[in-house]
Amino acid sequence: MKFKTVGHSEVRVDAMAKVIGEATYPEDFYMKDMLWGKTLRSTKAHAHVNLDTQDAEKMEGVIKVFTYRDVPDNHHGVVLKDHEVFCSKKVRRIGDPLAFVVAISNKIAEKALKTIKVEYNEIPAIFDPVEAMMKDAPLVHENHKSNIIFHYKLRRGNIEEAFKKCAVIIEKQYKCGMVDHGFLQPEAGLAYMDGDTVVVCAATQYPHFDQLEVAEALHISQEKVRIINPAVGGAFGGREDITMQVHLALATKVLGRPIKTVYSREESFLAHSKRHPMVMTYKTGADANGKLLAMEAELVGDTGAYASWAINVMRKAGVHATGPYEIPNVKVDSYAVYTNNPFAGAMRGFGATQVPIAHEQQMDMIAEELDIDPITIRLINGFTLGSTTATGQVLSDSVPLKECIEAVENSLGIKNHYEEKMEELAMEAGVGI
């Protein structure tokens, strides 16, 4: 079938504005009589807090200091509503928002921020997700009986029996750290009233969800909230959870004037989610021909102080734990755990990015034990049309994994390289004898 535009490398429709400097990101909007907002954030990881905002409110040029008392419904969150718009009694991580100062200039708002007295009464904190799973660990959220908020179980076949039949079994633990999206445009936003509608202009991945979250927090109908989503300077998952949207909406609704806020790079790091660090414990076994027979994995994902997308991330990690291979016997336990670390949420790959760090090294180790090259072991086990995944899903269409493996092999010559290396090693060993 011939297409006229599909399949053609058309020039991006938004590129012209971007190369001439006319694309407008939220910070590029200015309004008459606009006020500036700044967020006060927690400097402790786990503490009861008390705020004294009197000095700030008395400062010349300060219009108002917003705290939890001003928020009609002080909650938000993409799955569990476990974030407070402003912390009321306790902070759960460094960076938790406590107050939003609105002033006639950015400088005054910044100055006023420093005059707010925060009394922290620190309580035991937990930073290791494996320790956080233990019964006596400090609770990050008291309304949850445990820090474990999600457990995904995958059970297929019988791993105990299958491991007995394996010619080779590899067991190893892997860890990956917490990282940031590092999109180039730090969060910024401008909100104003259009009649009785609250308009928030901010860079977001999902304007209609922001609309819902703002409406719920402000306790107004969704129709009275409008989100304008202009040019977005990268996202990668880091603009899924809202940051300043409710702060701005609340302030403009109460004050009736346009409010703008622009985060610094540092505040951007503090404000948005991170990639889940994971501890991944793997046991993988194959027969003497390199055919995978069984895999067992335990995945512990540290979601930090808030759930964000943790449930979905750890579910996706669990489903993808096998890698793109047919394995008849599989047992996976995937957990999402609260700690007092920065909160983790969506980031490019969403749990499926972490597990290959484990399953792909397991594959190479199995191959090496059996003296099979890394390409062949993948071709022996890789999904093809009609394969069944560990969840029992049949891959009924578009499964070109083997074409991908072969294309890489044709370009890089891994197989040949492996054989040469084995010969060299054999020769060295021969010389040694």
């Binding site: 297929r156 209609h208 304008i228 503090l270 793109p324 290959p356 070109p400 890089l412």
Partner: protein
């Protein structure tokens, strides 16, 4: 000493929210008075190219050049909910919704063309360059603009607007066994890299890199390549650079001066191989690739490091200090 090694990482990635969650995209297609077509959809352009490829899908259905599509996605007041720009779902989910909306508009335009041309059937009508014409008698034709005019006159100056909606099919997995069909479609990706490890400094340099990326069908090959390049760079950062330096819940590295992301000097040339295998339920066969393009990078580098120096790095990021320590330990 500098040692070279090669490694591979192969992955699959299931698109969408998954697990039976209603994964819905809505779109509106509108015939404008000047004969152009507007698409209204709440799908964010985050830089991935959504505006362009979603416009291409509409243009293809309606047989008009890309420039004749007005794509509106920036405002909840004018756009329907198309879900989040995440889970690599916009091409597949919203692409399908826009394709359906555009097909619905095409049917409406055909219906109006039948009236306008006073013919007895829409069979044999074709659409190209903003015109509807009879395939067997091409001079019998009507432009989109004329159809827009007629519709407006007959409908109190309203424009012709139609909707399209798409819901991806997934199932909720069993709570005890995790069995089910949690995502669809799956996208495949394989990276191969050659690294050079300096055994005295622990520095890892990527000297060659190749990605073979399943795309279903590439709506815009150059944009696909751009996604691969970007995913690769982010993957390199994840594997050997990026570290927030968490200490008791505090990020010690929260500036670009200490949270190091790759620069142009850290990224090698990358060979990009697009593998097409159109997926039946996808718009023109196109699958999402935004996330898959970064996933295979880390394992390929880690396997290449092992191949080069014989140590298994089980913890990322593999900073020079960590790698040096591991190399020294292995030599003991």
């Amino acid at each position: 000493m500098k040692k070279r090694g090669k490694g591979i990482g192969s992955i699959f990635y299931g698109t969408g929210y998954g697990n039976g969650f209603p994964d819905v995209s809505n779109a509106i297609a509108e015939l404008l008075p000047d004969g152009k077509v507007a698409i209204y959809v709440g799908a964010t352009e985050v830089g991935q190219g959504a505006k362009t490829i979603l416009s291409q899908i509409a243009a293809e259905v309606l047989g008009i050049p890309l420039q004749q599509i007005l794509f509106v996605c920036e405002d909840t007041a004018t756009t329907p909910d198309a879900g989040t720009a995440a889970a690599s779902r916009q091409t597949y989910n919203t692409g399908n919704a826009i394709k359906i909306a555009s097909e619905n508009l095409r049917e409406e335009i055909y219906r109006l063309a039948v009236e306008h041309l006073k013919i007895n059937s829409k069979v044999g009508l074709k659409m190209a360059d903003g015109k509807v014409y009879l395939n067997s008698f091409p001079s019998l034709a009507v432009t989109f603009k004329e159809i827009a005019d007629t519709f407006s006159k007959q409908n109190k100056r309203k424009t012709l607007r139609v909707e399209g909606s798409f819901t991806a099919l997934t199932t909720k997995m069993d709570e005890e066994t995790g069995q089910g069909a949690p995502y669809w479609p799956y996208t495949f990706s394989v990276y191969g890299v050659e690294v050079e490890v300096d055994t005295e400094t622990g520095l890892v340099e990527i000297t060659k890199a190749v990605c073979a990326q399943d795309v279903g069908r590439a709506i815009n090959p150059k944009l696909v390549e751009g996604q691969i390049d970007g995913g690769f760079a982010m993957g390199v950062g994840y594997t050997i650079f990026e570290d927030l330096g968490l200490q008791k819940g505090e990020m010690k590295n929260r500036r670009f001066s200490n949270y190091l992301i790759p620069t142009a000097l850290d990224i090698p040339e990358l060979e990009k191989i697009i593998i097409e295998s159109p997926e039946e339920t996808a718009p023109y066969g196109a699958k999402g690739i935004g996330e898959p393009v970064m996933i295979g990078v880390a394992p390929a580098i880690l396997n290449a490091i092992y191949d080069a120096v014989g140590v298994r790095m089980t913890e990322i990021p593999v900073t020079p200090e960590k790698l040096l320590k591991a190399i020294n330990k292995a030599e003991e």
